[in-house]
């Protein structure tokens, strides 16, 4: 049980760490997608089937596409995707800060006596989830829908070229 978790976690963390240190953004993005897939495997392992597939659909299917499009739209030639190495001081400071946060979090996790529930996997069918979302949580669902719509419109407005302005420049 824990072995599978360690495997998934290890792969996920490695992918994320390597992605964050690669120079080529396309490779970074693709590796990050691998890491997101790892997260979805974690959800599968934890028995949250629906969340796992939603994660794949949203992250692998949508977010990654937007990221790749954004990368391709913000470069002038092919070499632009390979970014210059960062300054050493910044890397070191980032590692220091990140390391201290990591130390803090891990020690907090290990030092806190956490109440755990029953050992068997809780059963949560998609139908239950749907009933919850359409019933007591309907307000949340509606708000999420509104947020997505607004974000969609906002993204279009932000990214659309103002044709008049573009001609002038």
């Amino acid at each position: 049980m824990n072995l599978i978790l360690v495997l998934i976690g290890g792969l996920m963390l490695t992918a994320a760490a390597v992605a964050m240190s690669l120079r080529n953004i396309i490779h970074s993005a693709l590796l990050l997608i691998g890491s997101w897939l790892g997260v979805s495997f974690f959800y599968l392992w934890a028995g949250a089937e629906f969340v796992a597939f939603a994660q794949v659909l949203v992250y692998v299917g949508a977010v990654s596409m937007v990221v790749l499009f954004a990368v391709l739209l913000t470069r002038r030639d092919r070499q632009d995707v390979v970014v210059a190495p960062e300054t050493r001081t910044r890397a070191i400071s980032a590692l220091l800060v990140g390391g201290s946060v990591a130390g803090l979090l891990v020690s907090a996790v290990l030092g806190t006596p956490l109440a755990t529930g029953p050992a068997e996997t809780p059963t949560l069918t998609v139908k239950d989830l749907g009933t919850l979302l359409a019933g007591p949580q309907a307000a949340g669902l509606l708000i999420a829908g509104v947020i997505l719509t607004v974000a969609l419109l906002g993204a279009v407005v932000l990214a659309a070229t103002d044709s008049g302005k573009e001609d002038a420049s």
């Binding site: 597939f53 659909l57 692998v60 299917g61 596409m65 790749l68």
Partner: protein, 395 residues
């Protein structure tokens, strides 16, 4: 007899797993399922290519491949040998790792979709509770592989085709999902096996209760199939690999076996999507007539699948390729609104489930009107102002 035939695959599996000790049997049976899918659909793929070439040939008034073996039946194997023995060329400037990974991933993602398709009454590799969602999650992953192929080739045409492919896939993801949602609403489950079971039964023993035989299901099936053709990049939506403008698009820099892999993935994807269409709308493995249940369910599934795929080949032979703006306009201005209206239609169908007697006719009339009227109106609005196309033929 029928029951034995029906359970035949299970019997074979049990016989084989019987050779192994108890603790590893689950593993063996899982592997068996994989091997079975690979073998069956590998062979199916091989003969699909032959069938497509034969059909296209007949549609275009020529015989098609007929030299290798009787009626050209050995042609797929000849092709395979050719592809395997050809030189594998990798461009100098290519992103070597991604260039290699892309065809592998595209086939892998194409294959994992099969895991949730119920091929027969007892034949479903993994009976997931959220199977439909899984299918689409697997489907979107293959988009990534296409992008990788385009990017890694380091070639302008490949890159453009990859971008086109992404735009097209994202555009058609929406009508595809919108066409599926009514089915999920009406059957109240995301599990493919339960959706098929929900379509069981016959009126008077001859009219099956398939979703496609309801107004919303009919509309949904057509939206689904149009979107499916676009999702699999087949003609008339094969812009990303348009030979005349993009010299085969993301496939330009691939040769030999890698090229064959892409080809294979396309057919796997098509089979999987058509399989899902059969499952959701055409009653899956259910027999069309009550008395025909003597034929095993998996046979029915394969028959229906082949029919749907034949229709796709027919479409390919008949229709011309669209322009990119026509393609996206079709998705966003026609299919998506129709899909949304169909969603409301399905909701109406669900709410009016207890209407009986003459109200049943009213229910059908309303539901049909709700889908036909917008179809006509949106179609007219979109095509207004466009002059009828004239073709000039060489005389």
């Amino acid at each position: 007899m029928t029951a034995t035939l029906e359970r035949l695959p299970l019997l074979v599996r049990d016989w084989i797993t019987g050779f192994f000790p108890e603790p590893v049997r689950w593993l063996v049976s899982g592997l068996l399922a994989i091997v079975a899918i690979l073998a069956v659909f590998g062979l199916y793929f091989a003969y699909l290519t032959l069938a497509e070439r034969k059909f296209l040939g007949r549609f275009q008034n020529r015989p098609g491949p007929n030299r290798t073996g009787p009626f050209g039946l050995l042609q797929p194997f000849a092709d395979a040998v050719k592809a395997l023995t050809k030189e594998d060329i990798v461009p100098q400037a290519a992103d070597k790792l991604l260039h290699f990974l892309a065809p592998c991933l595209v086939v892998a993602f194409g294959l994992i979709s099969f895991a949730v398709i119920p091929f027969g009454r007892y034949l479903i590799p993994v009976d997931l509770d959220a199977a439909v969602l899984y299918f689409f999650a697997a489907g979107v992953s293959s988009e990534l592989a296409l992008f990788m192929a385009g990017w890694a080739s380091h070639n302008k045409y490949s890159m453009i085709s990859a971008m086109r492919a992404l735009a097209q896939l994202i555009s058609y993801e929406l009508p595809l999902l919108l066409a599926v949602v009514p089915v999920i609403m009406l059957s109240g489950t995301l599990s493919t096996s339960k959706i098929v079971v929900a379509q069981g039964g016959w009126t008077f023993g001859i009219i099956p209760h398939w979703n496609v035989l309801t107004p919303w299901g009919f509309a949904g099936f057509f939206i689904f199939m149009i979107a499916a053709v676009a999702e699999t990049n087949r003609s008339p939506f094969d812009l990303p690999e348009a030979e005349s403008e993009l010299i085969a698009g993301h496939l330009t820099e691939y040769s030999g076996f890698k090229y064959a892999l892409f080809f294979m993935a396309e057919y796997f994807g098509m089979s999987a999507l058509c399989g899902l269409g059969v499952t959701l709308f055409l009653g899956g493995w259910q027999a069309p007539i009550d008395i025909l249940q003597v034929v095993p369910s998996y046979v029915w599934f394969m028959v229906k699948l082949s029919c749907v795929i034949f229709c796709l080949m027919w479409v390919r032979a008949t229709l011309l390729r669209l322009r990119i703006d026509q393609l996206t306009r079709l998705a966003w201005k026609f299919l998506v609104p129709l899909g949304l209206i169909n969603l409301g239609n399905a909701a109406f169908w669900h709410l009016s489930a207890d209407w009986s007697g003459p109200l049943q006719i009213v229910r059908w009339a309303i539901s049909a009107a709700v889908i036909v009227i917008p179809f006509v109106l949106i179609g007219r609005t979109l095509s207004s102002g466009l002059a009828p196309r004239t073709y000039r033929y060489a005389t």
